[in-house]
């Protein structure tokens, strides 16, 4: 019997030097709580998931909703066993197949057929079981002779068809999909949706993350709305979609307004800086171009890149060499 139980799941996504001290200047209040900071104030990680709990029983079709960066993909990756939780429990009964990234999990230089073998073996199947499914996978993917060519020659849609065909052919108990079907054409999407439904009828569990309302409402019964790494709401997919869309519209409006004011503020600050630089240049009696004005004090926030001792030294040397 397949089952998913997630309890108080926390995941912090570490950045390891990928962030810079300047990051955070544009954070909104909501984002602030998600940044993990080191003792020196640098952003060292992101609280990707903060206390997620839910369960899914056999036959469940669960939709994952949320904005970009809300934690959907991270949650799927934790369910797939790729990322380990920092806290909390993830329990999955049943063989799990996750298709989280279209470009991964294939050996691009190997042929389509070879990849069927590789992924079958990776799924813990024997060579006999793989051979039994090969014809079915070839038929469902509709790739024909392309299966004898390296996967690197495939289009995104073709890769997706192959991945989906392999993943579902081996009949997992739990299927985890992220934004997958968007790469297929309408005909394939229909075929895939049908296959997913049949799969769930066999008492599997489907977890599907997508931005497409029609795909979600066609495929899923229940929905989980993720917001800032937390569960915002859970319920029948139709209700949650309605609530979600209304909220997204509200947010977009307020975001547009904020963006306008921010742009205006940034432009004003820059104009003030230029005016100041021009004034200084005029005082020195030289016709310096405002853009190259050397304040000597380093960045004032608008150009954080140049605000370090090395950059300052280099600028000094350049100005020395140019005879100023």
């Amino acid at each position: 019997m397949s089952r998913i139980r997630v309890e108080n799941l926390h995941v912090n996504y570490p950045l390891y030097g990928r962030s810079r001290a300047a990051a955070g200047l544009t954070e909104t209040d909501a984002d602030l709580g998600r940044m993990l900071r080191g003792p020196d104030g640098r952003v060292i990680g992101v609280r990707a998931l903060q206390g997620i709990s839910f369960t899914a029983e056999a036959g469940d079709r669960l939709a994952l909703l949320g904005e970009n960066g809300s934690g959907k993909t991270t949650l799927l990756q934790v369910l797939a066993g790729i990322y380990a939780p920092d806290d909390g429990v993830v329990e999955i009964d049943g063989r799990t197949t996750a298709l989280v990234n279209i470009n991964l999990g294939m050996n691009a230089e190997a042929t389509g057929h070879r990849n069927i073998t590789l992924r079958g073996l990776a799924s813990g199947r024997t060579r006999d079981e793989i051979e039994d499914k090969r014809a079915e996978i070839a038929a469902f993917s509709e790739l024909g002779d392309f299966l004898d060519l390296p996967v690197e020659t495939y289009s995104a849609g073709m890769r997706m068809r192959l991945s989906f065909a392999i993943a579902t052919a081996f009949e997992p108990d739990v299927l985890i999909l992220d934004e997958w079907l968007s790469a297929g054409d309408a005909a394939f999407r229909k075929k895939a949706t049908e296959r997913m439904r049949r799969f769930v009828d066999k008492a599997g569990i489907l977890v599907l993350a997508s931005h497409s309302p029609s795909l979600l409402s066609d495929t899923c019964k229940r929905a989980l709305w993720l917001d800032q790494g937390r569960v915002r709401a859970e319920g029948p997919v139709g209700d949650i979609l309605k609530e979600y869309n209304a909220e997204m519209e509200r947010r977009q409006v307020s975001r547009d307004e904020r963006a306008q004011t921010e742009i205006a503020a940034a432009q004003a600050a820059r104009a003030a800086m230029q005016a100041e630089a021009e004034e200084r240049a005029a005082r020195k009696g030289r016709g310096l171009k405002p853009g190259y004005a050397d304040g000597g004090t380093g960045g004032t926030g608008a150009e954080p890149d140049l605000d370090n001792p090395l950059a300052r030294l280099i600028r000094r040397i350049i100005s020395f060499l140019s005879g100023r």
Binding site: Y16, V90, R95, E109, G124
Partner: protein
């Protein structure tokens, strides 16, 4: 993709047991890492006419060239020197190759680690499998050279079997350890590459231990790789293995495993985040 184990429970804790079950689970998926390794070999030599035969050719060229030039610097007999190089360099390549490959073992498998929850040891075994293949081919070349030089197998030669076992045991721990460390600290790869280059010259391959006297011969004993080479080469050259070499190798093996266990307990869970 698919999880091999039907039931899975992920929660922090029990890191040590996790490492050993990872090693065991990976070992059971023999078919998978053998296939991975074979594909990798083929891709490396794809579209070259002689293909994998290049391993043999490259090795013969190296041994031949070195023997011609460097035997002049050694007081040893010509046939002895050629055998010394032929066996020694194969062992050296295996040991240092595993250290260097280890740095890439997880970084290079990034795409798979990010898409399928496989035991991490799969990637280690795949990498070792490939290095065994190269080692075996090089050993065949060495054997051919030795037979041509008049070598015949003796009972002392059997000491090579425990040496191979110890090599494999080391390879697992070295690759796992280097893989974890260099996934987190990317500078390690560059450091290791530059040290290995030096190691070739301070290991008795191009010169023999018997050519050294006094202090220099003592200093040569401080190079751990020399002892690994020694336990493999000596029996094949009808020399009794030095107890010192075996002792050093066994102690180091223990230390490397200890290092791997500690690193795995602390780092294994976070590996996917570093890639």
């Amino acid at each position: 993709m698919t999880q091999a184990l039907p039931t899975r429970r992920a929660a922090p804790g029990r890191e040590l047991a996790g490492f050993f079950s990872d090693l065991a689970a990976g070992l059971r998926m023999t078919d998978l890492w053998r296939t991975f390794a074979w594909d990798e070999m083929q891709q490396r030599y794809r579209r070259s006419m002689l293909g994998v035969l290049w391993i043999v050719i490259a090795y013969a060229i190296f041994v031949g060239g070195v023997s011609i030039i460097f035997s002049g610097f050694s007081r040893q007999d010509g046939a002895f020197f050629v055998m010394h190089v032929a066996i020694g360099y194969a062992a050296f390549t295996f040991i240092t190759g595993n250290i260097v490959d280890g740095c890439q073992v997880f970084v290079g498998a990034r795409a798979w680690i990010h898409s399928i929850a496989l035991p991490h040891s799969i990637h280690v075994y795949r990498s070792i499998c490939r290095s065994i293949f190269t080692f075996a081919l090089q050993f065949v070349v060495a054997l051919a050279i030795m037979i041509a030089a008049g070598w015949r197998p003796t009972l002392t030669g059997l000491w090579v079997l425990p040496a191979i076992a110890v090599f494999l045991l080391n390879a697992v721990a070295i690759q796992y350890l280097m893989g974890l460390i260099s996934a987190r600290f990317r500078d390690i790869t560059h450091l290791v590459t530059s040290i290995t280059r030096l190691l070739l010259f301070v290991t008795p391959i191009l010169w023999t231990r018997f050519d050294l006297r006094g202090v220099r011969s003592t200093i040569a004993d401080f190079n751990p790789v020399a002892h690994y080479v020694e336990i493999f080469r000596a029996p094949l050259m009808n020399l009794d293995p030095r107890p010192l070499s075996w002792a050093v190798v066994l102690v180091l093996t223990g230390l490397i495993w200890l290092g791997a266990i500690i690193a795995a307990a602390r780092m294994r869970r976070r590996l996917a985040y570093w890639l």
